[in-house]
């Protein structure tokens, strides 16, 4: 049995090093978050290092800041997914081109519902091979995804669908604060990141702040991810830019609307990627390009209206 628990040591590193160490061509990768706390800096670094043939698993993938970047660059082989869309930013032209026209290359799709993906990660986190659900029954989702199976509940006889555990090789999760070992507090809604951190073989945490372990111990009920799941800790402020990070900064809606326009054509997407991913060295370069004043204003507007521990 290979030891899964990670040591209680200082794991602080750079995103460049973490991606280089844990992501390889063909890796099975999942990016966490749910609408906000998207690990966008990590997506950009994986793109920048041109890791190929990736097998991605997401629950809800938010266009413009998430898996679609890698799909648009032709780095993705397969995609296990419940939902991929831009929300207020509009439909995702990159995803549509890939699925409707195979541009830049076809991807193999394995679709679930949100709950089914959540249950796959929960099963993965618990070390069990599958989970029964009452979703998916009667729909066409299992028609096109034969990994969804059916059985009759051996207790009451009613039909249930089974979904297989998901155990990604690498997960990237963005949090508000963690210590150098990786004990991570998440504030606000958690998505499935509690399960993802446990289901994945290797976990890279990007964090807005690195705090002393005593700060973690002060509020042990806020710790969603214990250090023993975590391989690397990277301090990346504004790592979710575009989307928000509760209590830290708001969404940048205008930014996403501009992206949506640029992604409208294949050439536009490629120009965008060249300019925002390949021509900057790292997320710090991205932040300088966006402008620290803009980022600061997004932080200020969030904190002016909402602070954790307050109810106005």
């Amino acid at each position: 049995m290979k030891k899964l628990s990670k040591p209680a040591v200082n794991k602080v590193t750079t995103l460049k090093e973490a991606v280089n160490r844990f992501v390889h061509d063909g890796s099975y990768v999942s990016f966490g978050g749910i609408g906000d706390r998207t690990p966008t800096a990590a997506v950009h670094e994986v793109a920048r290092q041109q890791k190929k043939g990736l097998r991605l698993a997401s629950d809800t993938s938010v266009s413009y800041v998430h898996d679609s970047i890698l799909i648009g660059l032709g780095l993705v082989e397969s995609f296990e997914i419940a939902y991929n869309w831009g929300g207020i930013w509009g439909p995702d032209a990159v995803y549509r081109r890939a699925l409707e026209k195979g541009i830049p290359k076809p991807i193999k799709l394995e679709e679930y519902s949100n709950f089914a993906m959540g249950m796959r990660l929960l099963a993965g986190s618990l070390g069990i091979p599958f989970m029964p659900v009452k979703s998916l029954l009667g729909s066409d989702i299992p028609v096109h995804n034969t990994r969804i199976k059916f059985m009759n509940d051996p207790y009451g006889g009613e039909p249930v669908a089974l979904v297989p555990a998901a155990n990604p090789e690498v997960a990237f999760i963005h949090v508000q604060r963690c210590d150098v070992m990786g004990n991570a507090h998440i504030l606000g809604h958690l998505g499935n990141d509690d399960s993802l951190a446990r289901a994945a073989r290797n976990v890279v945490i990007t964090t807005e702040e690195i705090v002393p372990t005593d700060e973690i111990r002060r509020n042990p009920n806020l710790t969603v991810i214990p250090y023993y799941c975590v391989d690397a800790v990277v301090k990346v402020p504004f790592a979710s830019h575009g989307r928000g990070c509760p209590y830290y900064y708001s969404m940048d809606v205008p930014f996403g609307l501009q992206l949506a326009e640029q992604w409208g054509t294949e050439a536009g997407f490629n120009r965008w990627a060249e300019e925002w991913i390949f021509k900057v060295d790292d997320w710090d370069g991205y932040c300088r390009k966006i402008g620290w004043e803009r980022l600061t204003r997004l932080a200020e507007v969030e904190r002016r209206h909402q602070q954790y521990g307050e109810a106005r």
Partner: protein, 294 residues
């Protein structure tokens, strides 16, 4: 009892949002998705259903945000919530039966209320690919009852959906129960032209109400099967003055209910405009919540 004052000027989206808002009842729990459904649920909460609890997929329960809602899972949703937890728990609570009512959207719907939110045409090479199930399949499978918000077009109202993402009454009759689905099934369809309900026995959709200025014949032209009709077709209740006022506080620049997104995307001025909107929306919504005692 106070007299109902209807709005004199309102858009079609506002009419639809008002109709959706009326699908929620006080003291219910609602599981709602991104965009207009959330606006509608908030409108309900700020009018006839003050004790409506809104749960969203990110993991939040009972939020009362005082800021512009930009996403079902954006940071705003955490504000003043009863609970912020995991996504799978909220969906699990739904499967267990804790959520009374839901609202979804879709690209296609058929006569038994089955919804396609995945792909038009051949699944493997779709003519139009959309977002996929997200939580829609789960809502359709497990929520107490749910309503669907649709654009009324013949190619969207089809005999049988190209891809059945969300189970309605499946093939009708007791097919839904036989399939083992715990939720009650679709309750209404609110479209750009009218409101549809479902026959309790057969599970088949029928036209119940037409929006002002729309005839049943016009609706029938935009439905791809031989549509059944209610014995007497009513007219959709227009939005009240209060509903419209609230919508315009919740979405002051029509991000969801209008064309507000364009101005905000402007490279030069969009960001300043957006910052201003966030601050202004906070003041306006705070005042609104104060008035409503929430």
């Amino acid at each position: 009892m106070s007299t109902i004052i209807y709005a004199q000027n309102y858009s079609l989206m506002e009419l639809m949002a008002a109709a959706i808002a009326r699908e929620f009842r006080d003291q219910e729990t609602a599981f709602v998705g991104v965009g207009p459904p959330l606006i509608a649920a908030m409108v309900a909460k700020l009018t006839d259903a003050p004790n409506l609890t809104i749960a969203v997929e990110g993991g939040t329960i009972g939020s009362s945000p005082r800021r512009l809602l930009t996403c079902i899972a954006d940071t705003t949703i955490c504000e003043r919530a009863y609970s912020c937890g995991t996504m799978w728990r909220n969906f699990g609570d739904q499967q267990r039966g804790f959520y009374d009512v839901g609202v979804i959207g879709g690209a296609q719907i058929d006569k038994y209320g089955n919804v396609n939110a995945t792909a038009l045409g051949d699944y493997n090479r779709p003519s139009v690919r959309v977002a996929g199930s997200g939580g829609a399949n789960d809502i359709g499978s497990s929520v107490g009852r749910y309503s669907v918000m649709m654009r009324q077009e013949k190619r969207r109202f089809v005999e049988r959906v190209d891809y059945l993402t969300v189970p309605g009454y499946l093939d009708g009759g007791d097919a839904r129960i036989k399939a083992g689905l715990p939720g009650g099934g679709p309750h209404g369809v609110i479209t750009t032209m009218g409101i549809f309900r479902f026959d309790e026995e057969s599970g088949e959709m029928y036209l119940d109400k037409c929006h002002p200025g729309i005839t049943p014949e016009k609706v029938k032209e935009n439905v791809g099967w031989d549509l059944k009709m209610a014995p007497s077709i009513g007219t959709t209740e227009p939005p009240t003055q209060e509903q419209v006022e609230i919508m315009r506080v919740l979405d002051p620049y029509g991000l969801y209910l209008g064309s507000g997104r364009e101005g905000m995307g402007d490279v030069e001025k969009g960001f300043d405009f957006y910052m201003e909107v966030l601050d202004k929306s906070y003041d306006a919504m705070t005042e609104l919540f104060r008035q409503k005692g929430l």
